[in-house]
Assembly symmetry: D3
Homo-oligomer: 237 residues x 6
């Protein structure tokens, strides 16, 4: 029934290649099927002015698509001179999602920036970004602990994200581009290992859904995130 | 228990003053307690280039806070030369919410812009904006129908929005600023009269919630939106 | 003779509603007929870098029109990414006008920003802005004196502004939009209670005037400002 | 009494070197003492979109200071990415002043841009700009008439500008930088040959003046502009 | 002698992986040692306005570094709102280099954009970009020929680029980051298969070189480009 | 053979008028034929943050063309809100060229900015800028030495620049606009008195050249720079 031939509750293949670039304190190339995002974690021993002297750190995200990550070329945001509303919305989401599982006091007075650059897009770029960013962050934090810079692990839980939607009347997991462009409703879930919800962004432009529909999507998301948590585990081990 | 003394499921006073400005095709000043937003609907008989010639119209939103709508003065976005990520996120949400109840084909080849300018902020500015924007849109559409410019009503359902959150462990409705700054989790619901969900944006920075918690917030939101629908009804009658 | 039916030397109705917003240290909604401007005064206990350490304060102005304050919707300057020349010209004028009656030494090392946001425009927005900004400033300064933060009143004189023009050959006071768009010449006068001139900006695009014409406009302006001074007095008492 | 040793009603030396650059349709280097401005008039056989098809032309001005035109180096506006409010105010003034003496219908559907670039500043850069721009415009218009592109002269009157101010209690003509920085009040007059006023911009930051004071400045300005009209005449003959 | 242990005239390992992303009409990931650049060619059947109707096409380049391609994180140009001078210089160079081997008439009225995004930087990013861009362009052009959109091959010659420099007094080929930061002089050569020079950019900040030195660098560059031409050949076959 | 009637190895007339503006610590108006550039050197006793505390100074360049320096009017970069890639490329080149002959340690902790503003363009604006900037820098440095601010001369060598190109098959020196627009290849050489090369930028868009061609251009450049060195000498003596 799905264009991809997948079952309604079936994720695309998840692959995570750690150490994809050598300079970052943590990095990986994450794929959800044909969607591929390069995630790097950069540690800086300084904080934005409004955070200094509070005895805690900060985790933030940035996001971009390469101009030809998509079917048709998009203009480069650096050339246009500003980031789109969509880009800003996504990078705020990435930051909040990772902060939801980071103990900023234990991190100490330093900032970690998670750069998520989409090399190829086929739906779900923001959810792949969050899921990959956790891996990059985990690796960077591990480095800080190995070097003795921090004592207690500030990152004891995993976070992952997946999109779900209603496609031709059926709730389905992990929309690819073909499904996404034809879905009646579309929701992104950011979930924490163990069952808690960090964030829900559910939109129903052109359609709507009811409470039951929202719950069915949430349950699909749990299934998907369980797969992602396993892939994250394997990647950082 | 709440700083405001309200019951957990109690909205702030809702007032809607229509015709607040005279040039716009539709306008109102909406208040949720001390939060006051001026909403105007402007009809333009032209469309952005990418929408022309499709036999349908467009509804979009813009949002801004006056510099001293808040406790401390914020810089003017026009002076800084760009809109913040938060502003862009909110104006995208306003546009989607209103389009969820508008039949763009029946609207015809014209654009309606909903400007939501916050004169005074005390929590819930985006939800008051959406709720007031519907009133402005309704008035503007009524004018188009009265003048014979459109035949069939493109706006047959109401849309309203409200924020809910978990405050000291209890789910509460319609957070004001004091509650919002101390809430563990915060969700904005955009609901359609009759029970459908147009949009959910639930964030749990610093905390998380489970499925049951999300549902309790959703049910509070239904209660709140029912009050808003009544106020909208009274305003446009 | 005038579209408005007013006598040549007759102001529109002036109303000033103080305390229109609650967060600002001083605020009012001023109306010159259908022109309505929200003026707020915000005190900040810091100065721009180039003013620090001189033992004196600063008073500055900002100005904006809401997009649909006017007959047809104008683009939002924050969205365009820059303020127009007209906006900058007006906000510089507001700042200079208020500084003309403020003793910056007595104000002490703090800055007061006067935000003038036009909710509805019908001609004369800059003159209503200056006249209302004085009220907001007066209220803010009164608060500083009441709290003991400053000892001596830095604001002992009033300032007000009004536009005059030559309409169908006759000098008239306080142009509204219909008159303004058809006037041969247009001058804005900023006057200080007691008869002194703070600023004159007289423009004669498409026409010109002679010395006698300029004087007649100035005398009309005195009449108008006397009315405004009375309204300011009543508002702050 | 004046730092420059000039009499109160004495202009600085005015020199106008026409044809200073070869590409422009009209150009001159104008000096008011040590203030030197390069003025060029560029004819373009096209109009901004909002002026097309009305059977008339447009005259507009642009203004800039070279970074080291002044005592200390100012940042380049192109590098900062925006023009200051002062720059915009001045270029709007230049455009209005020249349009006050141009019959746009006789000019025909073309645009003339007057670029005024200050090579060296010593007070009065905007007034020298307007006075020199008239010369450049006159030369460009003459070229159009000589080539037969236009039939009737659209520029039959001269326009010139000069600043006056109250320096140590005395009204003085044509302020240089030393005087300007110490003047109590400062006014720019744009006058038309024959006695009409095109524009007055009188500012009294820190001081004020009365009706009589304004008139005395205006009369000084007439004296100064008479000298400028003579220099313009000599330059274009 | 070289930090890398390479001989003076020895290139780093060159690898070219074609088809690295699936949406672009041509793409490759090119590596010069640890420097890795993703190059894509995007065909658009439209031209910039100033090129329309001339019966020929256009080839242009864009360049960017991912924020953490480098040792320390650089700010994202899209977030800063402008591209650096270095970025613009490089993308102009990429465009000129590729146009030097493209017959724009044979290409027909279409534009090909070569996006070069540096995933990891270790010196020589601009030369790897040009060398990889040729491969992406070749693949895109081949597609146009295969589909019959163009008849005659507009790209009959190869172009490649390499940097050379004087390191501790010795001319060396293909500087990596360690060498580049310590070189006395640094030159980029863009060469065309067969021996012609498309572009030389030789800089000697802090040092200088003489004619003989320049020639020795040029000869090294020939050696290097021969290796690159072979790798390009293998990649597109 | 050349449109200008000059011999292949003949420079245009070089004139250098020092002290062209009075505020700058060093200034000149340099002409290469009809190309005229105003060069000023501004000393500031402060450094950009990244250079502080290293015991050395900095020399940097800025470049701009007046809008009507050219045949047709170009838009003002300050109005467009950004500097073009070409502008940035040239100002980086100016800075590097002057730094190549300045001992930054001997200069001490101060910055000298060389502003090169093209008043009239006829080809070779960047090479005239570099050649004139040296004169302005020399004068400014002389002032520092005369006042005792620095002890040892940080500027013991001259630097000059000239463009050469292949015009109708013949290598020619110092291209003017007519030649430049029709040249097959175009190279800018920055040379140091005594024979060393500071910078070569050779571009062959649409054509290419071989090693011998490049050398012939370099030898022409030597001839030209010898003339410029003489003119610089005469100017600063």
């Amino acid at each position: 029934m799905r264009p991809s031939g997948r079952a309604a509750d079936e994720m695309r293949a998840i692959t995570i290649e750690t150490g994809f670039t050598k300079h970052a304190e943590g990095s990986c190339l994450i794929s959800f099927g044909e969607t591929r995002v390069l995630c790097t974690a950069s540690i800086e021993e300084r904080l934005p002015p409004w955070l200094r002297g509070k005895g805690e750190g900060w985790v933030t995200g940035e996001y971009s698509m390469l101009p030809r990550a998509t079917h048709t070329r998009g203009s480069r945001e650096a050339a246009k001179g500003k980031q789109s509303g969509r880009t800003q919305e996504i990078q705020r989401l990435i930051g909040r999602s990772l902060r939801a599982v980071t103990d900023l006091k234990k991190l100490g007075e330093r900032q970690i920036t998670l750069d998520c650059d989409v090399l190829q897009a086929d739906g779900g770029t923001r959810t792949a970004s969050i899921s990959g960013a956790w891996v990059a962050l985990r690796l960077a934090v591990q480095g800080l602990m190995d070097s003795g810079a921090i004592k207690e692990d500030p990152l004891t839980r995993k976070v992952a994200a997946v999109s779900c939607g209603i496609f031709k009347g059926t709730p389905v997991l992990d929309l690819d581009y073909d499904e996404d462009s034809n879905a009646d409703a579309d929701a992104n879930f950011v979930l924490i290992e163990g069952g808690q919800i960090a964030e829900v962004q559910a939109t129903a432009e052109g359609a709507t859904y009811d409470e039951e529909g929202l719950l069915r999507l949430l349950r699909l998301a749990r299934t998907g995130c369980d797969d992602i948590f396993k892939a994250q585990d394997a990647a950082v081990r």
